[in-house]
């Protein structure tokens, strides 16, 4: 008996009972689909965060200092511009830093006016972050030092206020004050829910004047080497708390931490869904055992006939074992298809990158093979052991 004989016989007898075979596979289908959806979504979310971070040039060597104990900060910030400047001087492991002030204001050109996001940065922003100027220039050192009223606008602001002509050199009014447009940022789209096209960037000093504050919303810090991040954190804590703050007046976010926060949220979910997946695979396994035992019973006479014409122990075993494997594998493949389809659907709907985890597919197929294998052994052994005469005499 060759492998294709075994396969043909398995497919034959499963096809003879289509509905029953289908229902038997259901447990495996659900289990496998869950495994795929689960692992793929998890990996997709991770890639998403990674891509977003890298998209704005905030790689694994980046870190954010947030004022306050927690997010979002409920106490007013105590971080000042001098603090961020001090970081470069005090911590040599730091490649560079960008202080950030965020607010919103009405921006007006001609008779067009609307509310947009105002960001205050230092001149090194475009060098560190992957967010470049498309035309004109970015802010200069002098702009920052001298609190100049210059600004760089995003693509949406340009589209809303300057339809059809070049905004460079034009004057806009932000909260009523006159600013000169020196540049237009490239189109960037949304990053982590933040529209990087709908903003106006001004010197950090000017932003503080405009928003009437001497505080910062955050400081972005880049390490020369990723592995120095913990050390940098220590140093910054040390000198900031030495200056004017308590230890819990600020906290840090690294990309790893953001991913791990995401991880704990999805982790709980993952544990739950893994449980469901494991249970349905187990149920699938028991279902296959059960149906295989019924099938062995029903086909006792067939087994007798096969033995009478010369089937050995092994031939009968392989026949029924093959059937169980095909059941498991077909369940696995259907689960694979529905899992991939569902995962892709969820990903497109939620805006996550469509990513099907290769190892989830391998894991799912391994699971279904394992189920087919486990479920097949006992019934196939029962079939193989049947006594030929009793089997031939069996009435059903």
């Amino acid at each position: 008996m060759t492998g294709s004989d075994i396969l043909a016989s398995a497919v034959d007898s499963l096809a003879a009972n289509k509905v029953r075979s289908g229902l038997t596979m259901l447990g495996v289908v659900i289990g496998v689909a869950l495994v795929i959806i689960l692992v793929s979504l998890g990996e997709s979310a991770k890639t998403f965060v990674d891509d977003q971070m890298r998209g704005i040039g905030f790689g694994r060597n980046g870190m954010v200092i947030h004022p306050g104990k927690m997010d979002p900060p409920i106490e007013p910030s105590k971080l000042r511009l001098e603090d961020s400047r001090e970081i470069n001087r005090r911590v040599p492991e730091v490649l560079d830093q960008v202080p950030i002030v965020v607010g919103s204001a009405y921006i007006r050109a001609g008779n067009q006016e609307y509310k947009t996001s105002v960001r205050g940065f230092t001149e090194n922003y475009t060098e560190l972050v992957n967010h470049r100027v498309e035309s004109g220039a970015f802010l200069s050192t002098l702009d920052v030092e001298q609190h100049r009223k210059t600004c760089v606008i995003g693509q949406k602001v340009k589209a809303k206020l300057f339809s059809g002509f070049d905004p460079i050199g034009e004057t806009v009014r932000i909260s009523g004050r006159r600013f000169t447009v020196v540049g237009v940022m490239e189109k960037k789209g949304e990053m982590m829910g933040d529209d990087l096209d709908d903003l106006v960037i001004v010197p950090i000093t000017t932003a503080q004047d405009l928003l009437d504050t001497d505080k910062l919303n955050a400081v972005l810090v880049w390490a020369r080497r990723t592995e120095d991040l913990p050390l940098i954190k220590e140093r910054i804590i040390e000198f900031l708390s030495g200056r004017h703050m308590r230890k819990d007046d600020f906290h840090f976010h690294t990309q790893e931490e953001m991913i791990s926060i995401l991880g704990t949220i999805t982790g709980t979910l993952t544990a739950f869904v893994s449980g469901v997946a494991a249970v349905s695979l187990l149920v699938g396994c028991i279902g296959i055992v059960n149906i295989m035992l019924v099938s062995v019973m029903e086909r006792t006479r067939e087994i007798g006939i096969r033995k009478a014409v010369g089937a050995r122990h092994r031939d009968i075993f392989l026949q029924f074992f093959g059937e169980s494997m095909v059941l498991g594998l077909m369940g696995g493949l259907s689960g694979l298809v529905s899992g991939v389809a569902l995962a892709a659907l969820v990903m497109t709907r939620t805006g996550l990158p469509v990513h099907i985890s290769g190892w989830a597919v391998s894991l799912a197929l391994a699971c279904s093979l394992g189920v087919g294998l486990l479920a097949g052994v006992y019934p196939a052994m029962r079939a193989a052991r049947a006594n030929p005469i009793q089997a031939l005499r069996f009435e059903n």
Binding site: D12, S13, G304, R306, A308, I389, L392
Partner: protein, 227 residues
């Protein structure tokens, strides 16, 4: 003449243990069947014909005594050895045909060859030839449920002959058939006999038995007489 008997029975015994005590279905039987013999086993119901045939066909093992097939002692073989023996040396024809219901006629005939490891193309070729010999070439793809009793039995005969066995065993092969169809099957057996196949056939009918070369009458698990 030092020809080896196809079958040699030495004090062959098979008893069944039942709650009502042991049943001697086959009792200390001695017999030799030679190549080319056509043996009919005749006897009243319950005298042990089927029990004997099952022993001869290695579907069952004796309680005591010895059975040699082509000189090989069956007791020396394990289950796989017996399976091999059934596959290569023995062809069965049953009263109830015992074809596999989901398989077409050709595939039923291919079955013993599949277990013998004959390659698929050769299997198919030999099955077609076999069906031709029993004049069933017009029903190759029919499954057993689409075949008449006589047609089913012809397919079963083709299957029994598929591996060109030393011995064909038939347990009431015409028992389920009307006289005319039974007659056709008997003619097939006579043809097999003429072509040199060794046959042992169980029957209830003395007329059928007459057509064999040897008639053994059984009673209570023993050979009562031979003609």
């Amino acid at each position: 003449m030092t020809q080896l008997p196809v079958l040699e029975l030495r004090q062959l015994t098979r008893h069944y243990d039942t709650p009502a005590g042991p049943v001697m279905a086959v009792h200390e039987m001695d017999l030799r069947v030679w190549r080319g013999d056509f043996v009919a086993l005749l006897g009243p119901s319950g005298c042990g014909k089927s029990s004997l045939l099952n022993l001869l066909g290695c579907l069952d093992r004796p309680s005591s005594g010895e059975l040699l097939i082509d000189g090989v002692a069956v007791s020396s073989l394990d289950d796989d050895g017996l399976a091999r023996l059934r596959n290569r040396k023995i062809g069965f024809v049953f009263q109830h045909y015992h074809l596999l219901p989901r398989m077409s006629a050709v595939r039923n005939v291919e079955l013993p060859m599949m277990y013998a490891g004959v390659p698929p193309a050769e299997r198919r070729q030999r099955a077609l030839e076999g069906l031709e010999r029993v004049r069933m070439s017009h029903r190759l793809d029919h499954t057993p449920s689409m075949l008449s009793g006589g047609e089913s039995q012809r397919v079963a005969i083709a299957r029994a002959l598929a591996m060109d066995p030393s011995l064909v065993l038939a347990d009431e092969p015409t028992g389920n058939l009307d006289t005319r169809t039974g007659e056709e099957i008997m003619q097939l057996f006579e043809k097999m006999h003429r072509e040199g196949t060794t046959l042992v056939m169980v029957t209830h009918s003395p007329e059928m038995a007459e057509r064999a070369s040897r008639i053994l009458r059984l009673r209570d698990g023993r050979i009562e007489s031979e003609t």
